[in-house]
């Protein structure tokens, strides 16, 4: 079985993050970068399926700058077999639609039975690439998987998905299919020392984005980035609880918009 897992290198969001002077990008000067956490769940699920089935190969695919190779090496150290790096040194803001087209062009040339993506990237929170990629590849997509089971004959997958209202949907789908992973699907492993050593010898194929021959026009463009405004207000309520509580709830819903 051929499994492809799309991964992205993102800023480590545990750090203090600021803006460049032109307001067009995050100031990446003193930042560290990690694998997108949702892609870690995607990769972990890919590896678990590989281990359960025995005869399976996991290929990582990433689109980004040269330094994105770090996340590929991390993924290879976790247990993936090979990797493809679509390199674009110019990318700052990239329209998710275009990202999907770039990934589709590279992945479309490969044999695959299953594709895993994280539900979103924590830097741009686009929520789109997985679904867009499935459209472009002409395969079904099942989003926000909470459990994935491959059939004994390796021709179908059963995916559990929790939706609003506490409902669980169970999908059964023939392969190939694209599945997006979310928190709770599994607990991602750490790379072992033998894995890290082995990763150095695993193949990483590099493709320059221009070599894909695509129109690289974005369908959306970044106008600016700013820090969200922090507003501190206080309001004191006086009176009986049964009168005040509905007022507070209404304010929290309609003004603070936290409910």
């Amino acid at each position: 079985m051929k499994i492809i897992c799309c991964v992205k290198q993102v800023v480590d969001t545990n750090l203090q993050i600021g803006l460049t002077k032109d307001g067009k990008d995050i100031d990446r000067g003193n930042l560290t970068f990690v694998m997108n956490p949702y892609d870690e769940f995607a990769l972990e699920e890919s590896l678990r399926i590989k281990e359960r089935l025995g005869a399976a190969e996991v290929t990582l695919v990433t689109y980004g700058r040269s330094r994105a190779e770090e996340v590929l090496r991390t993924g290879l150290a976790m247990g993936a077999d090979r990797a493809i790096h679509i390199v674009d040194e110019s990318v700052i803001f990239r329209d998710p639609l275009l990202t999907a087209r770039i990934l589709a062009k590279a992945i479309g040339a490969l044999p695959f039975d299953l594709i895993f993506c994280g539900r979103q990237a924590v830097d741009d929170d686009g929520f789109q690439v997985g679904a867009s990629l499935a459209v472009l590849l002409g395969i079904p997509e099942i989003s926000l998987a909470s459990k994935v089971t491959i059939s004994e004959d390796r021709k179908k997958v059963t995916v559990d998905k929790n939706v609003e209202g506490g409902t669980k949907l169970i999908f059964e789908c023939p392969l190939p299919v694209l599945i997006t992973a979310q928190k709770g699907l599994n607990e991602a492993r750490y790379a072992s020392l033998p894995g890290i050593m082995a990763a150095k010898k695993k193949p990483v194929q590099t493709i320059k984005v221009e070599e894909l021959g695509l129109d690289l026009s974005d369908s959306v463009e970044l106008a600016e980035m700013t820090l969200p405004k922090l507003e501190r207000r206080q309001q004191i309520f006086e009176g009986e609880a049964k009168v005040i509580v509905p007022q507070v709830v209404k304010l929290l819903k309609e003004e603070a918009k936290v409910l």
Partner: protein, 206 residues
């Protein structure tokens, strides 16, 4: 509105001659709100999406339509009381895959004029909106909290949070494209169905 007014262009309010020769056909000519229901009732987030649509309609001065999928009972009538220009009820087989639903929506929307597409924060939106936007080649922005009409630039700016909410990103659709937006939950208040004159309801077979 004059031909020099970028908003007039975006609304498609330009001469027939220019409209036919231009490859950019007024991407803001229409605002389309997709509404979702559960157990026969309009979702809270759909009401919020309607508010957003009404606000944009007031600013842009364009048509506003609601697209309701499989809404039965009193739901179309309720939606017709929000103050939109049209309510289209699309009848689609009840249990379909996202892929099939996308294709049916694509076929339905292809016959209509270009416009801004607003999706409520719901499972339907997150499943369908990326697929539809890819099919149309339209830019999609998720979790949009606010819109700003930049009249001098002739663009509609959409703002959403990124980097786990620590940055505010403002994005515009590229020239000539109609933007798709999934609205952030609770970013807009819930609209009330309190208009006296109901909007026409158009029942479209799937």
């Amino acid at each position: 509105m004059t031909e020099d007014d970028p908003l007039a262009y975006l609304r498609g309010e330009i001469s027939e001659e220019k409209r036919e020769s231009s490859s950019q056909s007024g991407p803001y000519r229409c605002i389309r709100v997709f509404v979702d229901s559960m157990a026969g009732r309009l979702n809270r987030t759909s009401r919020q999406a309607i508010t957003c649509g009404l606000n944009l309609k007031a600013e842009l001065g364009t048509r506003l339509e609601a697209i309701l999928i499989n809404g039965g009972g009193e739901l179309p009538k309720e939606i017709s009381l929000f103050g939109m220009d049209e309510v289209a009820v699309l009848r689609i087989q009840e249990v379909v895959s996202s892929r099939t639903l996308t294709e049916q929506l694509y076929e339905f929307l292809s016959k209509r004029e270009h416009g801004i597409a607003l999706f409520p924060a719901s499972r339907l939106a997150y499943d369908i909106a990326p697929r539809l936007s890819q099919r149309f080649g339209a830019g999609l922005v998720s979790d949009v909290e606010s819109f700003f009409l930049n009249a001098s630039a002739g663009t509609l700016e959409m703002s959403h949070r990124t980097v786990l909410g620590r940055m505010m990103e403002t994005v515009v659709a590229s020239t000539g494209r109609s933007p798709f937006a999934i609205l952030k939950e609770n970013a807009f208040t819930e609209a009330s169905a309190d208009k006296k004159d109901p909007t026409p309801i158009c029942d479209v077979g799937g």
